[in-house]
């Protein structure tokens, strides 16, 4: 860019003169770097500080109140059958798109008769997609989905039906716990290209404030909650 460097200096200089600082004050620099390194949580609401059993119940309640369907399954082996069943019950085509997440691809899909599985990112023709959530925050029934070859982001938005596998052990109370889990897996101060926090299917209230489902993203969402408690 021609003027972006000049503009950068101009903006920085004005900010510093407005704040009455030079930018070199050691105390300010220390304060900000400590804040970034420690990334301390602020107030966590009480509802997000419960037992695992309560977290699961709250997550389920919240998700259902946000118009998603929640189905509890004992184990991962039940997933293919549950996917086929959900599609059938909703009169949808018996096909599902998913990424390369081994937790999903290594399931015995042949057990779900007549269900066609496709691997890779979503294309506009896909009618339904299956993803695995990295985690979830019970406090508002919010899934965390990470971009990448395992669970491409297009799966979350292009098809009309989105089915998400979530292991009960991956449900946390608060959002902050999920960020902490992500830091453990991927490291400090780094993020996947896209992290989607999703709380139900797509909706709009832009016409006379009436809520209509399926604005641009999925019209329906089903959470397969896997594990014993």
């Amino acid at each position: 860019m021609t003027y972006t460097e000049d503009s950068r200096n101009k903006i920085m200089n004005t900010i510093r003169s407005s704040l009455g600082v030079s930018g070199d004050e050691a105390e300010r620099i220390t304060r900000t770097s400590i804040r970034l390194d420690q990334h301390k949580p602020n107030l966590i609401p009480e509802r997000a500080r419960k037992t695992q059993l309560e977290n699961i119940a709250l997550f389920r309640n919240m998700m259902e109140s946000q118009s998603a369907t929640v189905v509890e399954l004992k184990g991962m082996d039940d997933v293919p059958g549950a996917v086929a069943g959900y599609l059938r019950d909703n009169n949808l085509a018996a096909e599902i798109r998913m990424g390369s997440d081994p937790i999903l691809t290594e399931l015995t899909w042949s057990a779900a008769l007549a269900l066609e599985t496709k691997i890779g990112k979503a294309v506009p023709q896909d009618s339904a997609a299956l993803s695995r959530a990295f985690g979830a925050a019970a406090e508002t029934g919010t899934l965390f989905l990470l971009s990448g070859v395992d669970n491409p982001t297009t799966l979350n938005f292009l098809p009309e039906t989105h089915i998400v596998v979530l292991r009960k052990v991956d449900i946390a109370g608060s959002y902050e716990e999920v960020w902490e889990q992500l830091r453990e897996v991927q490291g400090q101060r780094t993020m996947p290209r896209t992290v989607n926090l999703i709380s139900g299917p797509s909706r709009t209230a832009d016409i006379e404030q009436t809520i209509i489902m399926g604005a641009h993203g999925p019209r329906r969402m089903c959470i397969l909650l896997v594990g014993t408690t």
Binding site: M1, T4, S7, K10, I11, M12, T14, I15, S17, S18, L19, G20, G23, R28, T32, R35, L36, H39, P41, N42, L43, P45, Q66, G120, K121, T140, T142, S147, P152, T153, T154, N156, F157, L158, S174, Y175, E176, W179, R189, T190, M191, R193, T194, N196, I198, S199, S202, R203, T204, D206, I207, E208, Q209, T210, I212, G214, A215, H216, G217, P218
Partner: protein
């Protein structure tokens, strides 16, 4: 857009006589207020979270230079590009240049108030680029050639019959006899039409609700998922954001997000909250190949050094306008620029000048509801009062008003004279108004009595009544 805030009084008159608008505004008065109240009641810590959200933004603003530098470092590290724009014109040029270099024919857009502020669409369209708004509300006003009338519900001034007419006029390739009287049908039609645009787009432009210094991420919230289709399908993703969107960490972002949706739509959380960091990674099967962030100042760095710094805490939730009796009466367009309602009454004169928008801070009853509901605890009435002072100092207000205030001030500074003259005035008014009880017309107050009647005083002033009551008590 060219501001019409200077013509505020004419705008108001038009709005009050617009039946369609008045019907649509009925939805604002009840819906938003009830939903926010319910969401607040469901989270006992809500007000504490507001205090913390305010403190986070105050801290971020006090260290704005350092966090912006850190943010830029992290965006660059993740493979993205940061572009700095001091003015609206610079931001438009940078974005046009990026679109041209991408060979863009079609650009999809997520909802962005900053893009409205810099009038981006007109600029790109003038160069032959097709710009498509994808948020349903924004799409509706785009095909009508209007501007948003609300920060989060841009088409809140429309009724569904108007939308049906617009769709029939615009989507001419669809069968004429199709049924469009239910909102579902309108949403479906928009979904189908816009789906093709999402897929065809070469560049996707979104705003940002927050920028995170810790990771170099930009955050958007939507309920429709349009922002996500806008940014994951095209080859290039451009984010347009202003300097004050920065917060230090993801933890800080979550505290603000906890109060954002609840204050705005009354939802526990918005359906989609998306964190984007750089372009797609080597193994990613989808996502944009280029990620650009245009950081706009447009007067904010100077505001930072003034008594209006607190405005920069605003997270654009719209709660202030949802609860504003003036907004309820006139809607958003009357404010004449991008930001309506109480926040607009403070932001607009600060951004485009008191000379052009001096009327806006006068459009307040100072009832204080805006400040009471603001999740970032921005003292909006106090700031409006400061703008009124500024307008007065700059002699931007009409001479009659200035003369009136000066006369009043003369008496107000002399309490004994004030009391004596009000005693006389009130006694006279009481005598003349005794028969009807109200005045339909009063000399020098024609502007006021044109729309309402003035109740006639009962004959004694408050001071007199107070003294009498005290005396009675003493004698009892």
């Amino acid at each position: 857009m060219e501001p019409t805030s200077h013509a505020f009084k004419d705008n108001v008159r038009k709005a009050l006589n617009d039946d369609q608008l008045q019907r649509a505004l009925g939805n604002v008065k009840t819906g938003f207020i009830d939903k926010r109240a319910k969401a607040r009641a469901a989270l006992p810590e809500f007000d504490q979270l507001r205090d913390q959200a305010r403190d986070i933004k105050d801290h971020s603003l006090a260290h704005l230079d350092l966090y912006l530098e850190e943010y830029e470092r992290k965006v660059t590290y993740s493979g993205g590009h940061v572009h700095w724009a001091a003015t609206a014109a610079e931001a438009r040029e940078i974005i046009l240049d990026l679109c041209t270099r991408a060979g863009a024919k079609t650009v999809t857009k997520g909802k962005s108030m900053v893009a409205e502020e810099i009038a981006l669409n007109d600029h790109l369209e003038a160069q032959g680029i097709e710009v498509v708004e994808t948020d349903l509300g924004e799409y509706l006003i785009q095909i009508r050639g209007e501007t948003p009338s609300h920060i989060i519900a841009p088409a809140v001034h429309l009724n569904k019959e108007q939308i049906e007419q617009d769709f029939r006029k615009t989507h001419t390739d669809l069968p004429e006899d199709r049924s469009l009287d239910r909102p579902e049908q309108l949403v479906n039609e928009a979904r189908t039409v816009l789906r093709d645009k999402f897929i065809a787009a070469d560049v996707g432009i979104t705003g940002a609700n927050l920028l995170i210094a810790e990771t170099g991420s930009s955050v958007i919230v939507t309920n429709e998922g349009n922002g996500d289709l806008t940014q994951i399908l095209p080859r290039v993703h451009i984010v347009i954001a202003t300097i004050e969107k920065i917060v230090p960490t993801r933890e800080d972002a979550m505290t603000i997000l906890r109060v954002l949706a609840r204050s705005a739509t009354g939802q526990e959380f918005t359906t989609y909250t998306t964190f984007s960091t750089g372009p797609k990674r080597p193994d990613d099967p989808d996502g944009p190949e280029e990620y650009h962030v245009v950081i706009l100042d447009n007067g904010r760095s100077e505001m930072l050094g003034t008594e209006f710094r607190e405005v920069l805490r605003c997270i654009r939730c719209g709660a202030c306008m949802n609860h504003c009796p003036v907004y309820h009466a006139i809607g958003g367009h009357a404010y004449g620029w991008v930001y309506p309602g109480p926040i607009g009454a403070v932001l607009t004169p600060s951004l485009i000048g008191v000379e052009k928008a001096g009327h806006l801070p006068n459009a307040s009853t100072f009832c204080g509801r805006c400040e009471a509901v603001c999740p970032m605890r921005i003292p909006l009435p106090k700031l409006m009062r400061k703008l009124r002072e500024r307008e007065f100092e700059k002699a931007a207000s009409p001479w009659q008003q200035r003369a009136g205030i000066k006369i009043w001030a003369f008496f107000a500074k002399r309490p004994r004279l004030y009391r004596r003259s009000t005693n006389i005035l009130i006694a006279i008014l009481a005598r003349f108004g005794r028969r009807r009880g109200t005045f339909r017309y009063l000399p020098f107050a024609g502007g006021w009595t044109k729309y309402r009647e003035l109740p006639a005083p009962q004959g004694r002033t408050f001071h007199q009544l107070w003294r009498e009551q005290r005396n009675e008590r003493v004698h009892k």
